[in-house]
Subunit: 745 residues, 2 copies
């Protein structure tokens, strides 16, 4: 495995992440880390005060999940069926700005003397707090300033900021505070890294209306190309009566410095509602009426319930403990839960990967929600169902029947501009169906399966049947695909893909109802073909336990790791794809991932042999890779490797392993840390609809614990040095298995 | 094989192509057919008179071989090592325009009554003639107008037009003639077909100087981005003294209609010379001094010599006879012969494929020149040597040592914007080396081999050794390539590629000199590796005579030909590449081409079995395909198929099989017709440096004949129904073989 040299950036704390120093060089990274989000709104942890010193060191970003601009994809050489449009998550009007002046002097982090600085995000309260003491170098006057910020978990359209200004060493001053909404925002410019940046430049939000009613200052805007609407606004609340001035999109107040000042700013965004202006105004009214304290209380209550089902921990390693909670919290902040949105690779924390949804959702993130917040998991599947019409159309683009889900998308259209590592990853269909199967097993929600799930299952299977071929002497083959490993492209019979499709077809055959057969016009021949394909799915096994990642992988030369310099990783930024594809080298887990998801289809010997073969060939240049390896390493009892990989996935963002946290968090890696504990160290697998564990505890730790929700129950799993305890926290009695032994709870 | 329905467009004539009707719908195609060129200048067969009616039915194009504009290639998703710039052959100032008015009425093909119209191009005189009789519908006055045009084969920088205006039924009229040079020209706009159109729009030639000296009207211009210079100009000559008016770039004359009018217009272009303006003026002076008649005489003399070595014919099929000469003539018109240019896929007849040079040169066109005009063949290799520095740099882009020639280029830089069907075709190296070997065998020119050839041979071999791998149990493998068949991409061990590389390595090992070993720092280990790779080159043979096109081809499903409609060809315009790549379907000959070029490496049984297997899977969507199939069909005695394929390649342009002659001729298909006669029906192969023939005569024909130049000799081969005669036309006695029997000439 590639060596990582972790170095702790933020103090290790139990229920929060914080910093006590402000440095320009790392500010943009911290803005990502301190993002507040509610799955719809995301506001990066930027300062309320604007300062010229920040230029190039800040990404003042507020994002709305699913709100994007489109731009035509330009190809050097186009071809039939290529994806047509970029979709890019949009930076929306910035509601942060506060300007504070004292005796005419503007308070910023660079204008006076700053002491007692801190920025912190609490996982228990959902509150982001930033504070510092400012001392004028001219007058010596000192003020303590505290900003509290939240994106309401209970009010989709609402965020809020409370600013508290305390005079420290004076009784009188001319204090002026201005709060505004900035509508003229742009996205980040592309800087050459294919993983970051937008396809257009300049402002694409056009203001159609200024909103001014009931103290709300707002804007109604429309995107230039995608024509999506957004209403954004602010409304202030301030105790007592103060001198006040209101402008189009700012409001100013004058204070005499004799007492503390407190201003609450309620922030609203509405998109894709029937009446966005109305929604905005109603929600802002309600929020301001409730007040900031009430909003905080709602956050606390919501998070109490969340942690009751989702808390997870390691004892004996506080850095991992912090990371597990940081990750779970950020997942909650990132996940769309309205059935029309999903969870982007960067959540709502940045513009990396253009805010697209990938398979990351279903394979890495979905289990976390399925086992802790199944109602959110269902919404993720509903999103997929909502884009099924696009997926059907996409299958036609490939001259196939059925449906092919887009490799990367926001609005349901394929947005991958490089099909060999995009559209060719047709395993996306099976990945989504894997999530459907998991959801069904975890919840027993057959209603969803029958109402929406089956249609997806049938149509995606139809695509595979059409794209694949029965080839004499081989069985059912699926050629011309790219598997999970993006350092190998356009190959035949990717084992991961074929096994996942086999599983999906088996799931389909057992789930099929008579109603569905009639509704979807399924003939006996079609069922026979599904059966045959599932039974005779081609897997590239060899005459040893070694399995080919695909038909050709084992015949390639090995990547020259010995002559590859440290600064040449990730390979994709330093080598031509042709050169990478022609060698035995992996970006990320591929067959190893199949060993996690299709555990029972591999013998123990196969797991060992293939792990030993593929792991040394894997660069882990993808943040998706370490968790998978951690899980299998744990299963194989390679505890040191497992812990090492676990560190990698768990602290990817907190320790900025990929040096790109400034562009946003890595939601899949975050979820990977949960997966590693639950699937890896606790060894959870579902077999025949029942829970099986195989708990292992690394030497370095004294224990780990987590809770899962399963078929209406909440079960706590607690491993210590003296063994594992399973506790039924809620729900009816159930039988589960630990190391194969039945346990009745 | 795909059915073609040939339909003769132009009358079948022996030494010319002509039309006697002018139709707007097909005009652009005819402009291509009637192009005059000299390998440097190309002028499409457009009208001298300009008419609004022509809009969208004309491509007024004049091209200079090797003169191009660049533009950055924009990728939907860029990656390391991608080609950076488009290069596009440029439409240069148009020197055709003549405007004729009679009594104020402008003469065009649409303004009066047109009779006796014709347009013709003679292969014996190299002259393009256009004539018609025009009758005024107002006055009834009738004039006969004849335009003669040539691009001088003996004067690289010169073209010329003579206009002859004859009063038919009147003695007096106010006749005004204006001739001009139009500097404001643009390229064709991209129309969605990836095979046509430029990467930029608008005018990119910027005029820096107006040339006015010694009666020359000219322009000195520079391209916006590539910064290349071009000087273009016209100079007129007119017998007697007439009233004349000169403008910046036009000249007008007044006539009284009493006698015939004759005006000669000498046209010059100079690029990439030390002093382009000086060259232009000198060459125009000399040409106008010589006069039009002298230029015609030079053409005739030049073509006499050309046909003496290059004439080729079929007796018993006049359509084929015409095509063979049309093709040979156009190849001569298209081929760059200054060592700094090459032959574009469309020659100098259009903008298709952006004027790029491909492997078409070495594999399809080169043999024609090597066996008929070896001095031109040498220039083609010198061009490759001139871009060897670029090829070395390109190899570095792929993290390899040695040199990799660009798949498509003008200036030596890779210009392929889709690497799976571009850069991945690394067989380009071996193709060029195949031409080097052929040139050396045909000419015995070891000086060229030692001075320039060996360096290319060594550096391209070094690339292969680095890109390929010795893989245990397989030998030397070359993975991650695309072979000639572009409907299969990024595969391993393409048989064509591997065999060509094997041959190149063997050629290198026998050609290597002690001087070269020292000069190029070649170690014993390097030689040992070349030897091992050549000896153990992996070829994907099966346990039958069937050979895999590559490692995976035979394991794929077959293309659904039965459900593919006629209007869905070419597949590349109607199916996603992924879908095409995953099936057994070929765009063009691949293994079959290896059977032509590496004939001795296949048994007779292998040739039969593989032809029968691959041919039905081949769409021939590439114009490169039919000739290759014709050759092997002839070798296998499948004479009907051979003739059918021969028709396809021979009359590709005359009968416009691909419906895109409007964008330019298909030089490789043209050369394919020569190849089919010589390699196919006459069965020419070089074995151990000696000529071997295996002549066969299709039933339909009464004979065929051609001449080849070989090691200083000219040999005529004439097959009739009573057998084949070999005649030594020039040079020393030589032994050759026919059907294995030695013949002494």
């Amino acid at each position: 495995m590639k060596k990582i040299n972790p170095s702790i950036i933020y103090p290790i704390e139990n229920w929060q992440v914080s910093e006590s120093e402000y440095t320009l060089e790392t500010n943009q990274r911290s803005e990502t880390i301190f993002t507040v989000g509610n799955g719809y709104i995301g506001i990066r942890g930027c300062t309320e005060e604007t300062m010229p010193e920040l230029e190039n060191h800040t990404l003042p970003g507020t994002y709305i999940n699913g709100f994007y601009e489109t731009a035509p994809i330009i190809y050097g050489e186009a071809a039939y069926g290529y994806a047509e449009n970029h979709q890019t998550i949009l930076n929306v009007p910035n509601a942060l700005p506060f300007e504070i002046t004292v005796d005419g002097e503007k308070i910023t982090l660079f204008s006076g003397k700053i002491t007692d600085y801190s920025r912190k995000l609490s996982f228990k309260t959902g509150l982001f707090e930033r504070q510092f003491t400012w001392t004028s170098e001219k007058t010596g006057k000192q003020l303590k300033i505290i900003f509290s910020r939240l994106a309401s978990f209970t009010r989709k359209h609402v965020a809020a900021i409370k600013i508290n200004i305390q005079p420290v060493n004076f009784m009188a001053a001319d204090i002026q505070v201005t709060s505004s909404l900035q509508g003229a925002v742009t996205n980040q410019e592309h800087d050459g890294d294919p993983r970051a940046g937008a396809a257009f430049s300049g402002q694409v939000l056009n203001t159609e209306k200024v909103i001014q009613q009931s103290g709300i200052l707002g804007l109604f805007q429309r995107t230039t190309s995608s024509k999506l609407e957004i209403a954004s606004g602010i409304k202030h609340s301030i105790p007592g009566s103060v001198s006040q001035k209101q402008d189009f999109w700012s409001e100013s107040w004058q204070f005499d410095g004799s007492t503390s000042i407190e201003i609450s700013k309620f922030i609203g965004y509405a998109t894709s509602e029937k009446d966005n202006i109305q929604t905005l105004c109603t929600e802002l009214e309600k929020a301001s009426k409730a007040g900031f304290a009430q909003l905080v209380q709602e956050q606390v209550d919501y998070l109490d319930l969340f942690w009751n089902r989702a808390d997870i921990g390691v004892t004996g390693d506080d850095a991992l403990q912090q990371a597990l909670r940081f990750n779970a919290f950020h997942l909650l902040q990132s996940v769309g839960r309205d059935g029309r949105t999903n969870i982007a690779a960067k959540g709502v924390t940045g513009e990396g990967y253009e805010g697209h949804y990938f398979w990351d959702t279903e394979i890495f993130i979905f289990p976390f929600f399925a086992f802790t917040q199944p109602e959110i998991a269902k919404k993720l599947l509903e999103y997929r169902y909502s884009i099924l019409p696009n997926a059907k159309k996409r299958a036609r683009d490939l001259a196939c029947s059925g449906a092919l889900f887009p490799w990367r998308t926001i609005n349901g259209e394929e947005a991958s501009a490089y099909y060999p590592a995009g559209t060719a990853q047709i395993h996306i269909n099976a990945d989504i169906m894997h999530a459907l199967k998991l959801y069904t097993e975890v919840t027993n929600d057959t209603d969803f399966l029958n109402e929406k799930g089956l249609e997806m299952l049938i149509e995606t299977s139809r695509f595979y049947m059409d794209y694949g071929d029965f080839v004499e002497g081989r069985g059912f083959t699926i050629n011309g695909v790219t598997g999970p490993d993006e350092y190998t492209a356009l190959i035949n019979n990717n084992t991961y893909t074929n096994m996942m499709v086999k599983d999906q077809l088996e799931f389909l055959l057992t789930s099929l109802t008579d109603e569905a057969r009639i509704k979807f016009n399924i003939s006996d021949i079609e069922i026979k073909n599904w059966t045959l394909a599932a039974k005779n799915m081609y897997i590239h096994r060899t005459n040893s336990a070694l399995i080919g990642q695909d038909d050709s992988f084992l015949n390639k030369g090995k990547w020259p790791f010995e002559t590859t310099r440290e600064d040449q990783y990730p390979l994709l930024l330093h080598f031509h794809p042709m050169k990478i594809y022609q060698k035995q080298v992996l970006k990320q887990a591929d067959l190893i991932l199949a060993m996690v998801l299709q555990s029972e289809r591999f013998s123990d010997e196969e797991k060992q042999v293939n792990y030993d073969y593929y792991e040394p060939l894997t660069t882990h240049d993808s943040s998706l890779s370490p968790a998978t390896h951690a899980i299998i390493a744990a299963e194989l009892g390679r505890m040191e490797q497992a812990v090492s990989f676990f560190y990698y996935t768990a602290r990817t963002d907190l320790d900025d392993y990929h040096h790109n946290v400034k562009d946003g968090v890595h939601t899949a890696a975050m979820a990977g840390s949960w997966l590693t504990i639950v699937y890896g160290f606790a060894g959870l697998r579902i077999k025949n609809g029942e829970l099986h564990f195989q708990p292992r505890l690394p030497d370095k730790w004294t224990g780990y614990q987590f809770r899962i929700t399963f078929q209406g129950r909440i079960i706590e799993v607690q491993t210590t040095t003296s063994g594992t305890n399973f506790t039924l926290i809620q729900g009816n009695s159930i039988q589960l298995f630990s190391d194969g032994n039945p346990i009745q709870l």
